[in-house]
Symmetry: C2
Subunit: 295 residues, 2 copies
């Protein structure tokens, strides 16, 4: 398939580093990796699709919260519902900054919104959103805001017997609805922050509890090992919450959002990871220079 691979990637050091690494790990020699060990893991928000102005799952959950406030107007006085109604962008900046109080408030509202649902009910809610929601700046449905170069990277890895997993701080079950159609990977290869379920009377019901830790920071290698029994050979991310996952991999790829024309240009929430990339020799991908096509 040479010649067709990574077609949306410009010739350059990032593309070359990927091609060289995949070749070295799949060819007999010092760098060879047994097929069983070929695990590749990718963050989602900002690595596989647009995460500005907020990760798309927020757009989804904001709809749910708006309905919850309608059903119980007393919520309007509480965070995060108050910030949503008042369009208080300052409050949500606490998310990018990983402010613990904001994170806890958001998490509580997240788990409240999903508790009591069956998997089918939750899936239907996500599909309703994917079918109707559009990005506020780019005007396209979120499913079209997946980076084509990353899907080509998945294809290259699959063709070389890597198993590709998505590992994101976002909701596991939210992402699983997208996994097969959008990424071409099976639902069981999606790792994320997850609701615990209880099974009773032949039915699964989402609880308010989380299963395990948040899938961010050190939680990423923890979740990846729990799910696969291995740490990644290849990992891709774009933010400070991906640092531990990238450090745990043999090959680390960091997407840099420097393309204000076709996407966004920002370093907020990624400052440390950009420094680490330099220090540790990670492969830095410039969206502007390395990608012929973004979407």
């Amino acid at each position: 398939m040479t010649g067709q691979i990574l077609a949306s990637w410009r010739d350059g050091s990032a593309r070359q580093a990927i091609v060289d690494f995949v070749h070295a790990t799949t060819t007999p020699g010092a760098e060879f990796v047994e097929p069983a060990d070929r695990i590749a893991t990718f963050d989602n928000d900002g690595t596989l699709w647009v995460e500005q102005p907020l990760p798309p799952q927020f757009d989804f959950v904001f709809r749910t919260w708006a309905e919850e406030v309608k059903a119980d107007p007393s919520l309007a006085a509480q965070q995060p519902y108050k910030a949503l109604i008042e369009k208080d962008a300052e409050f949500f900046k606490g998310l990018a900054a990983q402010d613990p109080t904001v994170m806890e408030t958001l998490l509580k509202a997240f788990t409240r919104s999903w508790a009591g649902k069956t998997p089918e009910e939750f899936d239907a809610q996500v599909r309703e959103w994917t079918g109707t929601a559009k990005h506020p700046k780019l005007g396209a449905p979120y499913g079209e805001l997946v980076y084509r170069p990353m899907l080509e990277l998945f294809a290259l890895l699959h063709a070389n017997d890597f198993r590709v997993f998505v590992c994101s701080g976002g909701g596991r079950d939210f992402m699983r609805v997208l996994a097969e159609e959008t990424w071409g990977i099976p639902q069981e290869n999606v790792i994320g922050t997850a609701a615990a379920y209880t099974y009773a009377d032949g039915k699964l019901i989402r609880s308010r509890e989380l299963l395990g830790s948040l899938d961010l920071g050190a939680g990423k290698p923890e979740h990846i090992f729990a799910h696969t029994g291995r740490l990644p050979v290849f990992a891709g991310g774009n933010a400070d919450v991906d640092i531990e996952m990238l450090q745990s991999a043999r090959f680390a790829l960091l997407v840099s959002h420097d393309d204000d024309e076709r996407e966004f240009s920002y370093t907020t929430g990624a400052e440390t990871s950009l420094t680490k990339a330099m220090e540790l020799g990670w492969t830095l991908v410039s969206m502007k220079n390395d990608w012929v096509t973004v979407f």
Copy 2:
């Protein structure tokens, strides 16, 4: 591959039911199942290998406990170490009976024995055991006490684009050491009761905590859904702790241990599941009558 499939299975209703179900779910028609949905899950102890006189992982953990008592003789006065030293079979019967006090005592000792280890240290300990331990009655290494007919069933399912998962109350990481060589399934397809890990300073360390519920009873469909995003189309088990998993599947296979000559004959811990099999039309597999070869 017809003619070669399920070669160790006698012609009979169990074999026929399996062949018919796999054919119906992979052939266009009312029973067809999309490849993406073809999830098959199997219990391990008593379903894939011998579980008498105790599930093999107990033989493994007993060695660890013996070393712990050597290092700290005060443990000898406490359960379950006391029962181990005194060869108190009565105490361990509480396990088959799911006695909550016995279960809790055992679990505490299990988690104590694994805490603080890296994955590599734990794997090495399991490999030391698989390389040396033998079954007390059958005299063979445990790795040879895997049921050949079940491996043939895995092969049939794999050939028909089912993804096969093992889902057992036993330790996830213990089973993962066996998964690829013994069952021919990737480590990430092993679901089990699991230690939580923490990742710090570039290292994963097992904690004393469990990640999620015990993978028994209702815990089985909970774990399967958490891991795969689906419930099984095909499930195999052998005990009361498999009932919920079998009920959650479209096709349920229950292994009946009725072969005192080649293996063991017992119904302890499986009484309710045998009744359910009759009630709900599950496929009952008689080890004695349905299997030409056991190992």
